[in-house]
Symmetry: C2
Subunit: 269 residues, 2 copies
DNA sequence: CTTTTCAAACACAAGACATGTTCGTTACGA
DNA sequence: TCGTAACGAACATGTCTTGTGTTTGAAAAG
């Protein structure tokens, strides 16, 4: 009887479940326990085993997990960044609010450098059709803006895209950045704190972020509350390099205060 | 009565009409007579006036024509290249066969430069997943190959995309080409003849093609029969720069012979 | 001010997509 | 080597998106 109740609850709960939601649920379950079997996941999500297998194939192709016969195990190491495809569906509201605030800070006619990351991708969507010149550092943002001409001018940097992420890195990217100057950079940082400064998950990424900062007059960082006070692997520079930080209400007050102390203007969207 | 016959013929004829087909038909009609009214086009295509208006808006956004109240007029000057969105749906079979032949000429492990154009886009589709390193010079091809990792290595050149076309040009593109060397280039030429050499519609494009040729050991030109013997505006170089030409059966025999005389190997797909 | 053209709103049909089921094939363990 | 479990392909079903046509009110041209 209780079983039935739970079951019907799931059914109702799952009415609005998108396949992206199910993917997140599966990825979370696999990450938490290290591995999971197909029947387990089918029970958890209420979907059939065939659907779970298809999902696992998709997630394996995204590099989220590794298939084995009967289930899947996690590939994510502790402290590593979850793949782009999953992050894109997390904290949607916060990202969207932050992106809207960032877009408001951009004036028409400006030249803008757009970093990689999910929040910056949202900014790209809002910049679509605006009278600005944009050089995005991710394939996704380039694609988003590719049909925005002639109002929006798109400049493509060279580089090698990181798998899954779409972030452009490498010598070609650095050369493109070195050859140009911009009014404003939108930086999507992985970690930001007054004590540890701006940090990125990846060394190549950190090099690109350094070059971004060197090529622009004004640096705007877009980071939801979870990024504040966090420290990632690769050091980019002190937090004072960031002129303006746009974050959301989940940001820790003491960290915000410390950043403001260090000279960064903080806007809570 | 004859009217009815014609009408029913159109109805039958239009059964399989895609909206791309209708777009081509409309663009052709507008180009041929310089301008056309909405009711005219509705009669011609068998679609409603509302659909025609939507089509005209789409085509106007693509730069094919210019709207005016009640109809549209052509924007294409004599001898100018029709826009990408239309070319993409012309001579599909020939393009596909040519692309297949070109893809067969590429060996695994090669580094490949991929020019812009519709035929090269088809080559990109066939290269997807192959164990090659590709640097495409169009946004569309980049997008096509963006999820081909890790088997296929994608390198993105810098540059500014030409509106509609997606072809990357400008100093950033030339710099990217100058910094790298490739085994094979797939050149999509606008005009090719033994007498006039390789020609492009656009000056910037011609500069890029020159740089492409300078950066590669082997140049393969992909051009359907209509391009042979034709001359476009901007000169790229003599036909002898092209080591191999892949074309289709519609190619004029004397032009093929002349190109072979000049040192180009010709493959008819 | 009248007529024509347009665009937004709604309705409808066709196709695409996601999901579940069945069944034959493959891989692992006893 | 055999038996069982897992898998993938093929098909069926329901839902959702997309394209198209119709209607109606608004805007523009004369």
């Amino acid at each position: 009887m209780f079983e039935q109740l739970v079951c019907s609850f799931w059914m109702v709960f799952n009415r609005g479940m998108n396949n992206a939601d199910r993917h997140r649920l599966i990825a979370q379950a696999v990450k938490d326990s290290g591995s999971a079997t197909v029947p387990d996941l089918a029970g958890l999500t209420g979907a059939s085993e065939m659907t779970i297998r298809r999902d696992l194939d998709t997630l394996a192709a995204q590099g989220v997990l590794e298939r084995f016969r009967g289930g899947a195990r996690t590939l994510l190491l502790r402290g590593q960044e979850p793949p782009f495809a999953l992050r894109a569906h997390e904290a949607l509201d916060a990202k969207r609010r932050i992106a809207a605030e960032v877009a408001r800070l951009i004036a028409d006619g400006e030249t803008v450098l757009l970093d990689s990351g999910t929040t910056c991708l949202d900014v790209a969507r809002l910049l679509h059709g605006r009278a600005v010149t944009v050089m995005p550092l991710s394939l996704q943002a380039i694609h988003t803006l590719s049909d925005a001409a002639p109002a929006t001018t798109l400049v493509v940097p060279g580089g090698r895209p990181r798998s899954g992420e779409g972030a452009l890195t490498g010598p070609l990217t650095l050369a493109s950045l070195a050859a140009l100057r911009f009014d404003t950079a939108i930086l999507g940082c992985c970690g930001l704190s007054a004590a540890e400064g701006v940090t990125a998950y990846d060394l190549d990424d950190a090099a690109v972020k350094k070059a971004i900062i060197a090529s622009t007059r004004r640096v705007i960082a877009a980071a939801d509350g979870s990024k504040l006070g966090r420290t990632a692997h690769a050091y980019v520079g002190p937090s004072s390099l960031v002129h303006t930080l746009v974050t959301d209400t989940s940001a820790a007050a003491e960290e915000v205060a410390a950043l403001e102390q260090a000279g960064t203007a903080v806007i809570t969207a």
